[in-house]
């Protein structure tokens, strides 16, 4: 099958993770991965982002498929149940709001900037080398550290399930995928 430009978006996903290693402010670009799928699903009632443009899915597909880093086993039943998918979405959103709250506290001057990336909502990794100072308010950097943590955490989870199950297992419980599917379901509710 002929490759299209959007089949190479895995490069952008990889580049995103690399850039955040050198300058944390690049983490802001990750908002594209939040807003584009939402806009596509709200405007067109389809999962065009998952289906075509998701670079992260492509990256997992490539590593697990062509590079053979996947056992290619079936994902356990509970992981594809609605209870788990919706529960994971709720948990992910709660953690996201907590991150926004921490950002607010830094903006408000109630908390100092923490130059660390939190992995899997638990492990605080030092990341100070990626912060170079004072062009913007420290809150801008705090959001970047927090958001990069969200992206790194989801990548690590995706890599783990890629190895254990099928390459794109992440797509089954990806919060953005679940959310856009819910939007599509709601939008198309009244259509035959």
């Amino acid at each position: 099958m002929k490759k299209r430009w959007y089949d190479y978006l895995w490069i952008a996903s990889l580049l995103y993770l690399l850039l955040g290693f050198f300058n944390i402010l690049f983490a802001w670009l990750g908002l594209l991965c939040f807003f584009i799928p939402l806009i596509i699903s709200v405007v067109s009632g389809a999962k065009g982002y998952c289906n075509r443009y998701c670079g992260r899915g492509q990256l997992f597909g490539l590593l697990g498929g062509r590079f053979g880093l996947s056992r290619k086993k079936d994902i356990p039943g509970w992981m594809k149940s609605r209870a788990f998918r919706y529960g994971f979405l709720a948990f992910f959103m709660a953690m996201f709001l907590l991150m926004l709250w921490n950002t607010y506290l830094v903006f408000a001057g109630a908390q100092d900037l923490r130059q660390a990336v939190t992995l899997l909502w638990t492990f605080r990794l030092p990341w100070h080398w990626a912060y170079h100072g004072a062009l913007f308010h420290p809150g801008v950097a705090q959001f970047a550290f927090g958001f990069y943590g969200v992206m790194l955490t989801s990548t690590v989870l995706g890599l783990i399930t890629m190895v254990l199950f099928k390459p794109r297992s992440w797509c089954v419980y990806c919060p953005m995928g679940t959310m856009t599917q819910l939007i599509c379901r709601a939008k198309n509710r009244n259509r035959p």
Binding site: M1, K47, G48, G57, F165, Q181, R185
Partner: protein
């Protein structure tokens, strides 16, 4: 006169559990499967030959190849 029934293999999607990721669409050599309204995948019974590529690819393993009578 008796009609001759042929058995053919087809992809069948368990639609309630489909996450509509579109992995199946990407690998189908006949473009016989599509995502309907961002909610679920649906195989075209006319085009599908039951090769099984989509079933192998599906991260949720909700596609099955079944023999159906035509």
């Amino acid at each position: 006169m008796t009609s001759v029934k042929k058995k053919r293999r087809r992809a069948v999607v368990e639609q309630a559990a489909c996450v509509a990721c579109g992995c199946c669409v990407k690998v189908c050599p006949l473009r016989a499967i599509e995502i309907v309204r961002g909610v679920m995948a649906q195989a075209d019974g006319e085009k599908c030959v039951g090769c099984g590529k989509c079933a192998r690819e599906c991260p949720a393993s909700v596609i099955e190849i079944r023999e159906v009578e035509t």
